[in-house]
């Protein structure tokens, strides 16, 4: 295999791995947007916040990453519940949630800068050696390697996706939650208590942001505007994968970053961001007529449903 091919394949591999990591964030956003009808951009900021918290716990307090995760999860859950409570209390529409979470996004980015400074920081030195050692593939692919945090991220993403899918489609609770998204009033008749389930779901979704955050802290250097850098890919992936379809979001994220990486090998990397956005725009513009009407129908339904929400 030529060096070029090796670089290309390694790049593709990295793309899938990093893509799956960001895919965890996209999954959460997809669930939030599709089921709770909250376009929560602060979800990205929560993930970044979790990453920074993980940094402090691992580097400053010398805790093991697993311990850090255990501490961060309940905090994230609490944040998710709190934020959703606000949305419910103020009967916020999807569009208003967009504005609000953007405001929150700005607040959090500045908060992070204020507390941790704008410098780029990394947990690399404080990681247990096992996590820093590159793992090589067995021959004949010994030229390729993965880093443990990437593998961990990939495995976590798959596990979470499987878990989410399993819960949503094969448990009564999951079915109730999906019904709630379609028709809150009807779901209530069947015993689904909207507020309680929404709070629970939001907590769980933000907890996944916590998982993503810890994994991100293990994998890459952190800087405050990282969430902004992810915004394009994550939003594009959520929409391309279908709102409320976590598997779709995961796959879409992985694909987008994979393609972006492959592009960057051959072409000028600085054009790469264009790719995700253009795809996103083209996809939306090219919607066939029936899908258009479904969007239209969804919106009117969502508006009228807000009144019906118990």
């Amino acid at each position: 295999m030529s060096p070029d091919q090796i670089i290309l394949l390694q790049s593709a591999l990295n793309g899938i791995l990093v893509g799956s990591l960001l895919g965890i964030v996209a999954m959460g956003l997809s669930l939030s947007w599709g089921i709770l009808k909250i376009a929560n951009f602060a979800h990205l900021s929560f993930a970044l916040l979790a990453a920074y918290l993980a940094y402090t716990l691992i580097v400053d307090l010398a805790l093991h990453p697993a311990v850090a995760l255990l501490l961060i999860l309940p905090l994230m859950f609490g944040i998710g519940v709190g934020v959703q409570w606000l949305f419910l209390h103020f009967r916020v529409s999807t569009f208003t949630s967009l504005l609000l979470t953007f405001g929150l996004f700005i607040v959090l980015e500045n908060l992070i800068t204020y507390v941790w400074s704008a410098d780029t920081i990394t947990t690399r030195q404080a990681l247990p050696p096992a996590l820093r050692q590159a793992i090589r593939f067995p021959p004949p692919l010994e030229r390729f390697f993965v880093l443990p945090p990437d593998l961990l991220a990939f495995a976590s993403a798959l596990a979470l996706a499987g878990l989410v899918h399993g819960v949503l489609h094969h448990t009564n609770w999951g079915r109730g939650v999906r019904a709630m998204a379609e028709d809150p009033a009807m779901a209530q008749v069947f015993g689904v208590h909207y507020a309680r389930e929404a709070l629970l779901l939001s907590g769980l979704v933000t907890a996944t942001a916590g998982v993503a955050g810890v994994l991100i802290a293990l994998k890459m250097p952190l800087y405050p505007s990282l969430a902004l850098a992810w915004l394009g890919i994550v939003v594009a992936a959520v929409i391309l994968g279908g709102l409320g379809n976590p598997l779709g979001a995961l796959v879409a994220t992985a694909l987008l970053i994979l393609i972006q990486n492959i592009w960057s090998v051959r072409m000028q990397p600085s054009w790469a961001p264009l790719f995700a956005f253009s795809l996103f725009v083209l996809y939306l513009v090219a919607q066939p007529q029936e899908l258009r009407r479904r969007w239209q129908g969804r919106r009117r339904l969502a508006e009228s449903r807000r009144e019906a929400r118990p």
């Binding site: 569009f95 405001g103 607040v107």
Partner: protein
């Protein structure tokens, strides 16, 4: 063309304009430094951004997150024309507005026909547009190409950068025109059409309102002003780079100012822009820039939750009460 409703305002605007024009003379006479003309300049820039955003997005309900793209294009068009084209400033500025307007017009032509682009998807699309434009500008050598653009190299810009007086007057004129337009639109059928679109676009369509034309036209006009005011901003900064020119905080701030001040009244964004700009000035003296951003973000969130009609909305409600 300027019908009754809008004509009444002309006198008021003329007066306001005159007063503001005399201000620098007063300031200089009192021996106060150029800080005040600079502050005035910044206020006029933000007033233009907030007001132009609002007379499209606030009135019609199509919240664009892309105002930064038009502002940025305005900055880069001016810079490119000045540095590489040796175009005189007086010509470069309006051209910046035209380029931005053309982009908006093209986007609108495609997007406003499609029903899926209402509400949050329109906002996201315009945000994506900003990123796309920024990436293109960042990669095309004769625009930015990654290295930034220095305006000091441009011929003929000295009188514009020696002191901020020319910038003050230029942006004052632009802001006045922009606010007057917002006022005129608000008081005529044009504004009624936009508000109807905001309330229920399909019904408005059914009543004979040419919604497509109004949306595209107003969007383009809004973009024109954002682009137009980008020129003075570029001259003020002296150096452009895509990261700061197309920063997402710019459209967000403009949006915040409009909503805080009252998105459904013509003067709302003026209030919002003046207040927030002054607030930001005050806060930068104290602690760090981050705290001031956090404060503004929190105020924005609180406004949306508790006072979505903004200051202007409150004022109008008071006025309606018999």
């Amino acid at each position: 063309m300027i019908r009754g409703g809008a004509r009444r305002g002309l006198l008021g605007f003329g007066l306001a304009g005159g007063l503001l024009a005399l201000l620098p003379g007063l300031v200089a006479g009192l021996g106060l430094g150029s800080f005040w003309t600079t502050l005035g300049f910044q206020i006029f820039v933000w007033v233009t951004l907030a007001v132009s955003w609002n007379f499209f997005s606030g009135y019609s309900g199509y919240a664009s997150f892309g105002h930064g793209a038009f502002f940025g294009i305005g900055m880069y068009t001016t810079a490119t024309l000045l540095v590489r084209g040796s175009v005189p400033v007086a010509l470069a500025l309006p051209m910046a507005g035209v380029v931005a307007a053309v982009l908006a017009w093209l986007v609108g032509l495609v997007v406003f026909r499609l029903p899926q682009f209402r509400g949050e998807l329109f906002s996201l699309l315009t945000l994506a547009m900003t990123f796309i434009v920024a990436t293109v500008v960042n990669n095309v050598d004769w625009l930015d190409g990654g290295g930034g653009v220095f305006l000091r190299e441009a011929p003929g810009i000295a009188p514009w950068t020696d002191n901020n007086l020319r910038l003050y007057y230029a942006t004052l004129a632009i802001a006045l025109l922009c606010v007057y337009l917002a006022y005129a639109i608000y008081h005529t059928r044009w504004g009624q059409a936009l508000f109807a679109i905001r309330d229920d676009e399909d019904v408005a369509d059914g009543l004979g309102v040419p919604t497509l034309r109004y949306k595209i036209g107003t969007f383009a006009l809004s973009a024109f002003f954002a682009g137009l005011v980008g020129g003075p901003q570029a001259l003020f900064l002296g150096y452009l780079e895509t990261a700061t020119a197309f920063a997402v905080t710019i459209p967000l701030l403009a949006l915040m100012m409009a909503i805080l001040g009252g998105a459904t009244v013509w003067y709302g964004p003026v209030l919002g822009a003046v207040l927030v700009t002054l607030l930001r000035q005050l806060l930068t003296q104290g602690e760090t820039a981050e705290l001031n951003q956090i404060a503004i973000g929190l105020v924005f969130i609180l406004t949306i939750l508790f006072m979505p009609q903004g200051l202007g909305g409150l004022i109008e409600a008071r006025r309606q009460r018999p």
